[in-house]
Symmetry: D2
């Protein structure tokens, strides 16, 4: 399995298709089987107690898996999440969040993988997630 997009090409593509949020992400590492991605949290992501909200962590995990998939299959914007599960394990320390996503299956129509999430330099993960994405077939009607 080889990358269809380099990290630089992927970063440019992300800013193009996610103009609202693309600037919050930084690709730390991109390989055929996965990605390391950093996200800065914003005020809207915070919950009472100063912790990052679950939905913000979910968004990072979802984007990390999506970006790993785009690196592997190229510019396929209409790939969409069909299923996800997430477990929140530890309260995130303040600071940037990092996601490590790996592709476990890349089929013709479904991709499956999982993500570990880290915060603020803590060595232990704050959350784990898994995702299934549907990849549109070339011949599929929109």
């Amino acid at each position: 399995m080889r990358l269809k997009l380099s990290a630089a090409e992927l970063a440019e593509y992300i800013r193009e298709v996610f103009p609202e949020v693309g600037d919050r992400f930084e690709i730390l590492d991109l390989e055929p089987g996965g990605i390391r991605l950093r996200m800065t949290a914003t005020a809207a992501d915070l919950r009472p107690g100063g912790t990052v909200s679950g939905p913000a962590i979910f968004m990072l995990a979802d984007c990390a898996f999506y970006f790993a998939l785009l690196g592997a299959i190229g510019r396929v914007p209409l790939a969409v999440t069909t299923s996800a599960s997430i477990d929140f394990m530890r309260k995130p320390a303040p600071g940037g969040l990092i996601a490590e996503a790996r592709l476990l299956k890349l089929g013709r129509t479904l991709a499956v993988g999982d993500v570990l999430l880290f915060a603020g330099g803590q060595p232990e993960p704050i959350a784990r997630a898994s995702f299934t994405y549907s990849i549109p077939r070339p011949a599929d009607p929109a």
Copy 2:
């Protein structure tokens, strides 16, 4: 089981603890076992193709369950999501999103329930989700 907060008290509390996003939610119905909640989508919630992003739908589902829980247990801001799963089933039609959450278990330390999500007046759900929340015990250390 009776409500600890009325719909009006809950709406006020939400605006207080979620100043950034509270205005996007409207409580349509609140009962001891569940809630109907409407959310308006914003530009940041959209994905290529004009559809609402998965993380925005996840946020609505998570908030709907959290608000149903707050209605049942009162102002306990530090209840947090421990696990969630979500299936995205149909592309949302443009327009507001509605979540229907129900509490299936309300224990001393864990609450469990599920959520159906609807969009733009479509009769069939666009997504389903389930959540487990951890409720802090009064004596628990922070």
Copy 3:
């Protein structure tokens, strides 16, 4: 949506394709959108403390969704589970288990639904589950 199999036809088909376990199931109700299914627990299903094991409850939930799907699409033995999530909420009382499954989406290639599980006449569910099944296309290679 109409049923492709009656409850009697479905029961016969189940005994045919699941000779090892088919006798443990009793169809209480079958409709186009769902099923009520009873399963008797066996000694192998029990865990320390006399409760039914999680995997046995998972099997019942999976079978209930599969049987509801078969009722809706007919004899398609190669439909397979692709994703599932389950939350165990209460310790099952001794006695038979009942699953109530509903089809939330029946697409060309994926079916999605959820299941509530009850035990021994307790009014509150002991578990909830959700499932995605992949339905083979007629033209798909094996």
Copy 4:
């Protein structure tokens, strides 16, 4: 983190508390953070097409996580699954199944981890799963 049980002690304990199924499992490796476990499939585990049933794979994953947890916390039979999610990715080749479980969080009352499952020597996983277990507190009422 150190093991509370050796692999031999754990194997003996499993046969004691799971007399019906304990003989089907073989511990290949046990470490404080995880386990490798082999299970032989039986006729009752098979689905049409000769593949191992989803519930049998779920049972193996659940047991692998449970045994890894027992290795870490000792003989606590009443630890129970509260949540699980599983994705089935590839059809299992005939032969034994192997589960690789890792503990991602071991808290006072909840343990969280994930499992990769392999079959018949295939290098790529046939399934992934994640689990949350509830650990009874010493003072908890039964």
